[in-house]
Amino acid sequence: MWKAVMGFIAGIALLGIVGFNTAGSFMMVEHESPFGIEETAARIQANIQRMGHRGWTLSGLRDPSKAVANSGRNVPPVLLVEACSTDYSGVLLADDQARILSIMMPCTITVYKKDDGKTYIGTMNSALMGRLFGKKVAAVMNEVAKDQAEFLKFDPNQPAPPLIKVKPGGGGAGGPEVSGC
């Protein structure tokens, strides 16, 4: 019998180790971009604006690498494109159980360079993340994931749009370019 118990525990431990070591790669998704940093971010912003009919607005554009560089340390460029849709955030924020998920708002897409000189886009695996928080959140995050996939569809035949320098923390009343959640 003790062998069965030990096997049971070993199974739990094995799963824990595997899960601990691989969960991160499931939660975040990385894509290579054919464009430079600014153009990639600007094209994502333009796509987000095109999804305005689903409540999406730009919430901010941050450059954390600049702040780090100013302090004398070296990081390759990073731009954080922030967006929010009240269609989705409204559902989550209205629910006492889900409101704590506001910690993940606004939705952030990161654009960065790596040591190979190429530009990459990082997104959260919203659909998978949503599944961890129950049916209601899963349904909302599934829709977010679909929209997020649209944000990353680029048409190279379209000219590069200008990068919109959105101030973070827009309150929703400042027009389509500055509002957020």
């Binding site: 030990m6 525990i9 070993a10 739990i12 901010g60 390759p76």
Partner: protein, 586 residues
């Protein structure tokens, strides 16, 4: 075989853990912090506070230029750059000779030469003056006066604009007097006021009258206060050298990639030597100057220096601008002695400049002249911008591409460079190397260098099969930037260069190489071993050497895999025998 204890129990365990994970709330319920945890939180809060204060202390202008960064608390005072007091024994504002309302640059020079009697004679011998360099190895006549590059292409026929970066006054055409001492411009290098500017189109003069600048902008630049500038001269600085060298090729960060206005006041990470709050090197700290001749030139570069440290003040004619001149050939400490072996094959810059254009400024990566000349329906000039606001199409110049934080290309380089000059045969069938770095793995003088390769498409005379000289800028009716007439501009340009335009314009693809040597990172940001010692790493294209982890020796691989396979077989046999014996005992 499939007993409950060996198989089913672990599977049940995994299933149980999965079920528990799925059904449990991911969000932890609020629990009071233990004392130890509170301490840890306080430490983190302090660390964050410290980081925010550091951010707040940075240069306001840089912060304003950046896209939204971490907001800093307003009550923290912004550090103002400390202005260094001059240590000179002469206060030029007290000189009677300079207490004059100067009407022109040459008038200032005459006043300077009353005391600095030999200065103009020295300048006349320099490349900054002649824009000419005879390569002792190849005999090629180089320098700005002769080279055709793949940026603005050629100085010839465009002097009134290009000579904004000449260390003289009045070089408009071939009649310029290179022997006149008063034509030397002292102020462009020695201005400390930051108000002295030589604008394109004025043949190397600053503006003496109010001028609309940029043209048609509605902004007006008052006349240069020459007296004010002359009374405040001082040593050269990153700013004065940068007036030309940061803006080469027609704008900030365009030409070099590792030289741009971000180096006027750089942080440590951008350039560990020029760090304005650290070592604060000026250009002349490395580019040691002797009788106004500035050392270190891309026309006669030093790729490797076996002799090591160059003692300051020595009469050794070696190039003092190399890394080796200060750091020697074994710069790494004993604990990292293996790195010193690398100096036999690698330039220091290869590891210590992991990328160029590392500020927020984008550098130009390519220039396609073949698309220039398109106008809108009203016949007006077109300008299109990219996402960062940089012009990617201009009717005057064609198409551009940009990038920042650019990983260099790598080449063997022994310091010798061959140029394709005016008159050399070129064709559309192959990429024309404007300059070609020499050297290979067997050359003891060669090292692997980081290189910026600027790619372009530019004019050539199809009939003569030579790179073309285009008359781009000027107030006459033949200048391309005024009339967009290729043939007219080619006729004047080619004639000025000493040839007759065949009437057949073509475009050739070109490459121009620039050794990367500025924007030196702090040692902690140098390339790691795996940047090169890996498949597809940075040195993937370098041949002639065996690079562990990049290269493979089939025999060695076979032996290694063979040993591993034999070991595995041994383990299986051993384990199998033990299992069988154990069953027999049962």
């Amino acid at each position: 075989m499939f007993t409950i204890d060996r198989v089913i129990a672990p599977v049940l365990g995994i299933a149980f853990a999965l079920a528990l994970a799925v059904s449990s709330p991911v969000i932890a319920t609020a629990t009071p912090l233990a004392e130890a945890e509170k301490g840890a939180v306080a430490e983190i809060e302090q660390a964050i506070e410290g980081a925010v204060v550091k951010v707040a202390g940075e240069d306001e202008k840089a912060a304003a230029e950046s896209i939204q960064s971490v907001p800093a608390p307003k009550q923290v005072a912004v550090e103002e750059p400390v202005e260094e007091k001059s240590k000179s024994t002469a206060d030029h504002s007290k000189f009677e000779e300079l207490d004059i309302d100067f009407k022109s640059g040459p008038q200032v020079t005459k006043a300077c030469l009353k005391c600095h009697t030999e200065a103009a004679k020295q300048i006349h011998k320099t490349k900054h003056w002649s824009w000419e360099y005879i390569n002792p190895d190849t005999g090629q006549k180089l320098g700005k006066k002769h080279v055709i590059n793949n940026f603005c292409t050629s100085v010839k026929s465009n002097n009134t604009f290009c000579s904004a970066c000449h260390i003289g006054y009045g070089w408009a055409d071939d009649s310029f007097d290179f022997t006149a001492e008063a034509n030397v411009d002292c102020l462009v290098c020695h201005d400390t006021t930051g108000t002295y500017k030589k604008l394109p189109g004025l043949s190397g003069h600053p503006n003496y009258e109010t001028i609309e600048w940029p043209p048609h902008s509605g902004k007006f630049r008052p006349p240069t206060d020459l007296k004010q500038v002359a009374q405040n001269v001082g040593p050269t600085s990153r700013k004065t050298c940068g007036t030309c060298h940061f803006y080469g090729g027609g704008g900030d960060a365009v030409k070099h990639g590792d030289l741009d206005s971000s180096l006027t006041n750089p942080g440590r990470y951008l350039d560990v030597h020029m760090d304005s709050k650290g070592l604060n090197f000026t250009c002349s700290t490395c580019h040691v100057t002797d009788e106004h001749e500035v050392s270190g030139s891309r026309y006669g570069p030093t790729a490797a220096d076996e002799k090591g440290v160059l003692v300051p003040g020595s009469q050794d004619p070696r190039n003092p601008t190399t890394c080796v001149a200060c750091h020697g050939n074994t710069p790494h400490p004993d604990k990292a002695a293996k790195l010193n072996d690398h100096t036999r094959k690698l330039a220091c810059q290869t590891c210590h400049i992991p990328a160029y254009a590392r500020s927020t400024l984008q550098t130009k990566m390519s220039w396609d002249w073949s698309t220039a000349g398109k106008l809108d329906e009203q016949g007006h000039r077109i300008q299109l911008k990219n996402s960062a606001g940089k012009v990617v199409y201009d009717s005057k110049k064609g198409n551009f591409t940009y990038d920042r934080y650019v990983v260099p290309e790598y080449q063997w380089f022994n310091g010798k460079v061959n140029y394709t000059l005016f008159g050399d045969k070129v064709s559309e069938d192959s990429v024309v190397k404007i300059n070609e770095f020499q050297g290979d793995a067997d050359d003891p003088e060669a090292r692997i260098w980081p290189v910026r390769v600027f790619r372009g498409k530019q004019m050539y005379d199809k009939g003569l099969q030579t790179l073309a000289v285009l008359h781009t800028a000027g107030k006459d009716d033949a200048a391309f930037w005024g009339n967009y007439d290729w043939d007219k501009a080619m006729e004047v340009g080619m004639r000025t260069a000493g040839s007759e335009y065949s009437g057949e314009l073509g475009f050739v693809s070109t490459e121009m190489s620039w050794p990367i040597t500025h924007m030196v990172s702090p040692k902690e940001d140098a390339l790691a071993c795996e940047s090169c010692h890996t498949d597809g790493g940075r040195l993937a294209g370098i041949d002639g050497i065996y690079l562990p982890a990049r290269d493979r020796m089939p025999l060695l691989d076979m032996i290694g895999f063979g040993v591993a396979l034999l070991a595995l077989i041994g383990v299986l046999i051993h384990g199998g025998i033990r299992v069988i014996l154990a069953k027999r005992e049962d």
